[in-house]
Amino acid sequence: MSVRLNDCDPGFKHEVAAEPGSEGIRACFACAACSARCPVGANRPDYDPRRLIRLTLLGRREEVLASPLIWLCSSCYSCGEVCPQQVRFTEVLTAIKNIAAREGHAPPSAKVTAELLAKQGRLLEITEFENQKRADLGLPPVEQRPGDFQAILGIEPDQGEAGEEPR
């Protein structure tokens, strides 16, 4: 596929680099050490860290943000360990995913996660059942104290429906 420069947004790389932790994207010299080490790429040839960086540097904003591939990173940090340029691709991709999420591309589970945290202060609900199981093993009870999480996330109590539990 040829790249039409009119479709490119030269500001995209600056937008990504402005997110915390991802300043390193500008230093990428396309050596592909990250791609060679990536376990996801080994199983999915269409997933390639270097390619995602190139597309970002070229300014293919919409293509990158709407791509389902950006959600396939396993967050293993292997790419960063082998990168000679300290690009920190895992963080770069976090930045890209964050921007994508703000523009409505996040998977539905993301909203559920925030709502669960606001409702429970934790991902998994604690009921009497859980605490009984804990007591049977001699473990102290755990509590749900969602107040701080509601305040931080700006989600009012009761507004957050406990949907499907994320895995």
């Binding site: 997110e19 915390p20 932790g21 376990p39 996801v40 199983n43 999915r44 959600w71 396939l72 990173c73 396993s74 967050s75 293993c76 940090y77 292997s78 960063g80 360990e81 920190r88 895992t90 976090t94 930045a95 995913k97 964050n98 999420a101 996040a106 998977p107 589970s109 993301a110 996660t113 925030a114 945290l117 202060g121 934790r122 991902l123 998994l124 609900e125 604690i126 859980e130 199981k133 804990r134 093993l137 001699g138 473990l139 102290p140 755990v142 509590e143 749900q144 104290r145 701080d148 999480f149 305040a151 931080i152 996330l153 994320p166 895995r167």
Partner: protein, 291 residues
């Protein structure tokens, strides 16, 4: 020795065998774990879509830990990694501290740098020490062989949690396994990722990542695979059957927590160490220690 325990979301609900064995082993090794019910989530689940709020949540935990003036010790590698990263990021970035503290102020909390964040395994090695741990062992496990799975966030990124071990040739879990007299299998796929990070987005891909390692370990017939993270457990124990089915094959790899191995070496019974909750049972071990 005293440390503040960071339980996180998953361990206290889904991995009680890890928690109970970790607490018992700490007690036997002279480590007092302090609980604080306010700690809750580390923020990691939000990072992919909203890292600003994820960082505030991590900073909240660090602010609470600071009040205890104790090192913060996590059982989950994702919690340890997330909190260590937050500490690293905030201690290098005054602007982010200002933003985070503006959000924490209404909660009566304030982040300030200085909390030491560590994974339990690291804490045991650095604070109790390998020789002292060895000296406490009362039972010889030399007839068993364990395959450590280090996972990713326990060792990487080395920029924020480095210094304990080499992510490309790790030995720290192996050293603790050998402290019990047991053998360590450093199998070819030792460094492979469990795939847990991508389970929510693509189950098949996650299963392919975990499946390759499971198939290899099944063929090597180790006593059990040893874990230090509840998310790796989701893949290797929780998903094991489904993965074998999808690969159109059969395998059964026993899965244990490293703390359960240490507990056995310290003379505890499988029941005390929560082995009843292991779903992929280490039959060889359980037969040897049947009361």
């Amino acid at each position: 020795m005293k440390a503040l325990l960071f339980l996180g979301c998953t361990v206290p609900v889904r991995n009680l065998n890890y928690e109970v064995s970790a607490r018992k082993v700490c007690e036997a090794l002279g480590v007092e774990l302090v609980d604080d019910a306010a700690l809750a989530c580390c923020g990691y689940p939000l990072k992919g879509t909203d890292q600003a709020h994820a960082l505030t949540i991590a900073a909240r935990a660090l602010a609470q830990a600071r009040g205890h003036d104790l090192p913060l010790v996590a059982l989950c590698s994702a919690c340890a990694g997330t909190l260590a990263e937050a500490e690293h990021r905030l201690s290098h970035n005054p602007e982010e501290v200002a933003r985070v503290n503006a959000e924490l102020a209404p909660l009566g909390l304030e982040y300030a740098p200085g909390v030491r964040v560590t994974h339990l395994v690291r804490y045991l090695l650095e604070e109790v020490g390998l020789e002292a741990i060895k000296a406490k062992m009362t039972r010889d496990l030399s007839e068993f062989t364990f395959a450590p799975h280090y996972g990713c966030h326990y060792l990487k990124p080395s920029e924020t949690i480095g210094g304990l071990d080499d992510p490309e040739a790790p030995t720290s879990m192996g050293a603790l396994i050998e402290a019990t007299g047991a053998k360590v299998d450093n199998y070819p796929r030792l460094k492979d990722c469990c795939g847990g990070g991508v389970l929510g987005a693509d189950e098949e891909l996650a299963g392919a990542l975990a499946g390759a390692k499971l198939a290899e370990l099944d063929a090597r017939q180790v006593t059990a695979m040893a874990l230090v993270c509840p998310f790796c457990n989701v893949m290797y124990e929780g998903q094991q059957k489904a993965i074998a089915k999808r690969m159109d094959t059969k395998f059964k790899v026993p899965v244990v927590y490293l703390t359960q191995i240490l507990g056995l070496g310290l003379g505890m019974t499988p029941d005390e160490l929560g082995f009843k909750l292991n779903r992929s049972k280490p039959k060889e071990l359980l037969a040897a220690f049947k009361e």
